[in-house]
Symmetry: C2
DNA sequence: GTCTATAGGTGGATAGAC
DNA sequence: GTCTATCCACCTATAGAC
């Protein structure tokens, strides 16, 4: 039994180390050998737990989506539609700032680094979008946003926050300095957009 | 002279193949050997034109920005600040639709994969940004936009159009069907943002 | 300017002992 | 289940002939 638990722990450890290695150095510095090194096992041991490098990476990526969802769901804790919408924007930012490589993987085309990963991505992003449409819809019902097609408005909002975040993560907004400075700009710009959609 | 022209063409060919190889297979499948193979020359020949793998990728980036600039500059032909701003948005869209691969390479993540690419890239995007700030400024002077910090407003606008375009190009807006359908949505969403910034 | 050949290296995956 | 040892494919970059 002790042996069995140790095996499971090694597998989890490999997942964690693989994720961190990817998050630290991107695809460029990623290798199974280095993952094994960090996990304190030989390279060959990895193949007792995963069929291939891709199988391991698929596992890591699923974890990225899981984290993203956990951020977004916190927005439901707010009490009014308006607050839930604001919380969505805030959680979206937090996820991106605290997990930039996960963000990039999911929304900025890094998925192409791991060829066979695309399908899950499409499914997951559709459900994320649906979540946002629901928030928009309840804002319209309580007149926080002007009535319009919820899908179009949701797409506008998503594009807005994604645009801010992705330009930031790819270094084009380097002028905003610290994460806190950028966060202030993000909040101001987003509030402005929402008030523009309210009239 | 014939020889000289052929050399130039080989260089351009290498640039194109490098860009497409990266966009097709991501960082994973990228190698100078494969670029050379596709261009129909030996791997060693690449080093006659570029100092290193990174130098090649920098060049690809610069070429993309050159095309991008040519689109944006056409917006100056419009006669009023308001029309120039609208033309900016339109040319931005046109560049993305007509050169999606260049757009993706420049603005959607190649920078992080090729570590030392940032410097040149940053410079180019800064001058683009400056161009937009000027358009915003003249709109504020003629009261087409409300007075505010031009940099912040320009960043908001850029993030907005980039968000729309990049989500479109990465397939997350597949629901909008044809390019024309997307263009209509893009124009409506952008007009809405600008009117929100006008009050 | 392009080639072939090669140096020098990394990494995925497997074989077989323990 | 983990190890060591190994195979093999592929990579960047350089040297030197043509």
């Amino acid at each position: 039994m002790g042996a069995r638990r140790e095996g499971t722990e090694t597998k989890a450890r490999l997942r964690t180390e693989a994720r961190d290695l990817y998050l630290d150095g991107g695809f460029a510095g990623f290798s199974l050998r280095e993952v094994a090194r960090r996990a304190g096992v030989s390279a060959a041991a990895v193949y007792r737990h995963f069929d291939s490098k891709e199988a391991l990476m698929r596992d890591v990526c699923a974890a990225g989506f899981h984290i993203f969802s956990s951020y977004l769901l916190r927005a439901l804790a707010a009490r009014t539609p308006r607050e839930r919408m604001a919380a969505c924007a805030e959680q979206y930012l937090r996820f991106a700032v605290e997990n930039p490589r996960d963000y990039r993987f999911i929304f900025m085309g890094a998925a192409e680094d791991f060829a066979t990963l695309a399908p899950a991505d499409t499914t997951e992003s559709a459900s994320t979008f649906h979540f946002l449409v629901d928030r928009v819809r309840e804002c319209m019902q309580s007149r926080v946003l002007a009535k319009a097609d919820p899908y179009t408005v949701a797409a506008t909002i998503w594009a807005h926050v994604h645009g801010l975040v992705s330009l930031r993560l790819s270094g084009h907004f380097a002028g905003y300095g610290s994460d806190e400075e950028f966060a202030r700009f993000y909040r101001a710009a987003t509030a402005q957009l929402l008030s523009g959609l309210a009239e």
